[in-house]
Amino acid sequence: MLTQLGDEAKLLAGGQSLIPLMKLRFANPQHLIDLNFISGTSFIKEKDGILRFGAMTRHAEIEDSSIAQKIPILHDCAAGIADVQVRNRGTIGGSLAEADPSGDWATVLMTLETEVRCLGIKGERTVPIEDFIKDAYTTALDHNELVSEIAVKKPNGNGGGAYLAFKRCAPVYPTASAAVQLTMQGEICKEARIVLGCVGLTPIRARESETALRDKEIGEKAVSAAVEAARTASDPQPDMRGSAEYKRALVGALVKRAINGARRRALGEKIELSHIYA
């Protein structure tokens, strides 16, 4: 259908971004293809250490899933997106395909080994999340392709992750967010992935922050170096959510807390984390 209808057609997943964008006339598709009635597109499965999510799986289904709980950072994300009503409709595949710079999923999934399965008339291909998100609102999807599945590799036993996003109130996009995944050996951090959300056109991998933690003890010194590097790596735009300076400070604070959460989880603690809002 996408091939037939051309550029004037858009796919409708959960609709929690697309429909508001259409009301604002920011999106003006002549045709909508509703994916909600296609069976078999919503599932959560685990096999051989890989969690697979159907593209039309709702945020609320991930929030309530015991399988998704096995990677706590996924629960942090799913449970805090917007509000109950939006989580009941919005989908993980739709969120990734939209690639809003303030979306939650891409930031979180970039700290993990994630593959996005893209399905088109020519067949299926698998794209790592880093290559899938190209730019703001731009993905590796061809016009006549859609996201069919998201596959996430479970981190090893010494791994722990945490996601924190700050928003002014529940229904809005976060002002800034930070996702951290650590592999610990005792108190020494062996591997680190730190991704910053809402502070650039795409989620930003803060590689200097990661270097600041790698092979170090997670103490005050390493953490403040990582926070400083994250602030430098961020590239926020001033908007109604805050000035660039404010967002830079905020993302640093979130990185600090997320490192602490990831460390505790990697060391086996069970803690609850999610979006922070008034």
């Binding site: 609709g15 429909i19 609320a60 917007a82 109950v84 009503q85 229904p171």
Partner: protein, 162 residues
């Protein structure tokens, strides 16, 4: 100009009653409820997926009916505020909101009560934190949330006794 579009036949249950309608594909669910079925208890507040005044239950889960097309509810089972009372008797949630002064102007109340409905259908003993999270998608601009939370706690207790 876009060419004229054909209406689409849909069938859905609203408050237990089956309806067959022919609707424009662009018609929002909230407009269908208000304009086609005269169920004006579901309100349009912000129309931007923010305020939750248009919240209804679809197959037991809350949705913002301003952020769905009516055709997407084809085959669904909807509950709106009009479906809460039974034979002239207020639903325990409605009674609790009245008894706890959980409303002032009442514009957000239908949405809040349906958000409460989803919460209490899954958790009969929600603590304060859980309640606050459950109604985070419903904005009240006059009474504030303290009495709303009291109302939900009261509703939980009353429904437990039923």
């Amino acid at each position: 100009m876009p060419e004229a579009v054909q209406n689409i036949p849909i069938q859905l249950k609203v408050n237990g009653k089956l309806h067959s309608l022919n609707v424009e594909p662009r018609l929002l669910l909230v407009e269908m409820l208000r304009e086609h079925l005269d169920l004006t208890g579901t309100h349009v507040g912000c129309d931007t997926t923010y305020c939750g005044a248009c919240t209804v239950l679809m197959n037991g889960a809350t949705v913002k009916s301003c952020t769905m097309f009516a055709v997407q509810a084809d085959g669904a089972d909807l509950l709106t505020v009009e479906g809460l009372e039974r034979e002239g008797q207020l639903h325990p949630i409605q009674k609790a909101f009245a008894d706890s002064y959980g409303l002032q102007c009442g514009y957000c109340t239908p949405g809040l009560m349906l958000a409460t409905h989803q919460l209490l259908s899954r958790n009969r003993q929600p603590d304060d934190k859980v309640i606050r999270k459950a109604i985070a998608g419903n904005t009240c601009r006059c009474t504030g949330y303290q009495n709303v939370i009291k109302a939900i706690q009261l509703a939980a207790r009353n429904m437990d006794r039923v």
